[in-house]
């Protein structure tokens, strides 16, 4: 904890282990550090503990061993309000994420829950909707939007809280190719740390220079996304498969 603020990682997970109350152990000691401004993909087969890890990042699950810190602030009960402002989780189903009657109110929910009101709130909501290109839809009810639009609004709902780290659960699921690309453009344009949980390996390669593989409750690999995807033995060992015809070697990554 001697690092200067600029060098404090956005996310620091150390020795995190967790077993559900029914005895099922999901995490067996996870160590992960994500630097400020990094975009990291969290890969892994179903049941590897990805969701469990994500729910630890903002303190919804707790009580196991190990520690989580967001920009130096430990995830503990007394810090929860601030932690939940700093960690913006975008859940997989936008119908779960968007629970208010209109888009505008939904985006305003987070900042308003933190006590923001009036012109400042309006400005915050407008800025977040602008970032995802949905400013014209502010007064629509969420269920009148297309799926891709709803996903973008879901991103705006957490951007409005000015998070330290954006955590996306399967951001490309159920999106048509155009919406998928639009979302990628938006994510690239944001100046925020991103942790992206995904099965969509080409999407991870496109957006995230670095990837970690979570398998059987531990971080099994951590490195350049392209290197990991090209390591056939590693990929097979963790039930990761590339889509038919996709060769990660053929892609040049910036």
């Amino acid at each position: 904890m001697t690092a200067t603020p600029a060098l404090t990682p956005s996310l620091e997970v150390a020795g995190l282990a967790y077993a559900y109350p029914d005895g099922h152990q999901a995490l067996y000691g996870v160590d992960l550090s994500v630097g400020r401004g990094e975009r990291v993909a969290l890969l892994g087969p179903n049941g590897a503990g990805k969701t469990t890890l994500v729910l630890h990042l903002n303190g919804i699950l707790a009580g196991g061993v190990g520690s989580v810190a967001v920009a130096g602030l430990p995830v503990e009960k007394r810090n929860l309000a601030e932690i939940r402002r700093r960690v913006g989780i975008v859940f997989q189903d936008p119908d779960d994420q968007l629970f208010m009657p209109t888009v505008r109110e939904d985006v305003a929910f987070g900042p308003a829950a933190a006590g923001m009101r009036g012109a400042e709130l309006e400005e915050r909501v407008g800025a977040a909707l602008d970032q995802v290109g949905m400013a014209d839809f502010a007064d629509r009810p969420p269920h009148h939007l297309s799926f891709g639009q709803r996903r973008r609004v879901a991103v705006a709902t957490v951007l409005a809280m000015r998070p330290e780290i954006l955590v996306l659960d399967e951001p490309s699921s159920n999106l048509d190719p155009a919406s998928r690309r639009e979302l990628a453009d938006i994510l690239r344009s944001l100046d925020v740390t991103v942790l992206m949980v995904t099965h969509d390996l080409p999407y991870a390669l496109e957006l995230c220079p670095r990837s970690v593989i979570l398998s059987e409750g531990v971080i099994a690999a951590d490195g350049r996304t392209q290197d990991l995807l090209c390591d056939e033995k590693l990929m097979r060992a963790h039930r990761l498969e590339l889509p038919f015809g996709f060769d990660p070697r053929s892609v040049s990554v910036a």
Partner: protein, 253 residues
């Protein structure tokens, strides 16, 4: 998807009635209905005046009479009950068209019919000129318990989502050759209802998780506060106050 339930009743417009703050309209409607039900049923002319008042509101709100009358049809099940009363009530009887009817039953039927119709008409006017969302804000402003307002607002938000889920389940059933055609199939429908309940319950948990993740700590933040000026309150009060005058005349005359 398509248009939600939220919009079927509302008729968009820019009339002075549309522009009134929702809590003024709610209070005015409630006041009007209270006045109407406390009018003695023998003052038949008073109910005529009430109807004229509502017609005036409809004219100001530019709600066509046809629409208003069509929406009044929702009242029919209650009317059926009122129509029965003259036949079944006890007491003094009169001959009308060769049928023996009870006098107190006739008054009872008239009472239910007149007051019910006026109440429904007032509600129809309120619903046609106020968006559902605005109604919730109004209720919140009128200090209805916040939990009730929250429940109502989630109902609006998720009504369509759950309706879609039900439709998908029905399509899946029919795709496998199932048509509900009789009492033997009620078991399947009951299981569908059970599955829908469990799915909705699980969705509720996921929504709660998303809310907690964004800082929800038990109470909804007030994002839009409905505010009304003294002038708007006065304007909204015209209807119940005029009605009250009519009502007092009904009692004294």
């Amino acid at each position: 998807m398509g248009a939600g339930h939220a919009h079927r009743l509302y008729r968009p417009g820019h009339s002075p009635v549309h522009a009134l703050p929702p809590h003024c309209k709610l209070a005015a409607t409630f006041g009007f209905v209270l006045v109407v039900v406390s009018t003695p049923r023998e003052a038949v002319w008073a109910f005529g005046l009430y109807a004229l008042l509502l017609a005036g509101v409809a004219a100001v709100a530019r709600i066509p009479a046809g629409l208003l009358l069509r929406r009044l049809l929702i009242e029919i099940p209650f009317v059926a009950f009122a129509v029965l009363m003259p036949f079944v009530a006890e007491g003094e009887r009169v001959e009308v068209l060769g049928m023996s009817l009870s006098v107190s039953g006739l008054w009872g039927a008239w009472n239910v019919l007149a007051k019910g119709t006026l109440g429904v008409a007032a509600s129809v006017l309120l619903a046609s000129t106020t968006e559902l969302r605005a109604l919730l804000l109004g209720l919140q402003r009128l200090r209805l318990p916040p939990l009730l307002v929250q429940i109502a607002s989630f109902m609006i938000r998720y009504g369509d989502v759950i309706g879609d889920e039900l439709r998908r389940m029905s399509v899946a059933r029919r795709s496998r050759g199932f048509e509900a055609s009789g009492i033997r199939h009620w078991g399947v429908l009951a299981k569908t209802a059970g599955a829908l309940f469990i799915r909705s319950y699980e969705r509720g948990e996921r929504v709660y998780l998303a809310m907690v993740s964004r800082g929800y700590a038990g109470s909804m933040p007030v994002i839009d506060e409905a505010v009304a000026t003294r002038g708007q309150w006065a304007y909204a009060a015209v209807l119940p106050v005029t009605a009250l005058a009519v009502c007092l005349m009904g009692w004294t005359l």
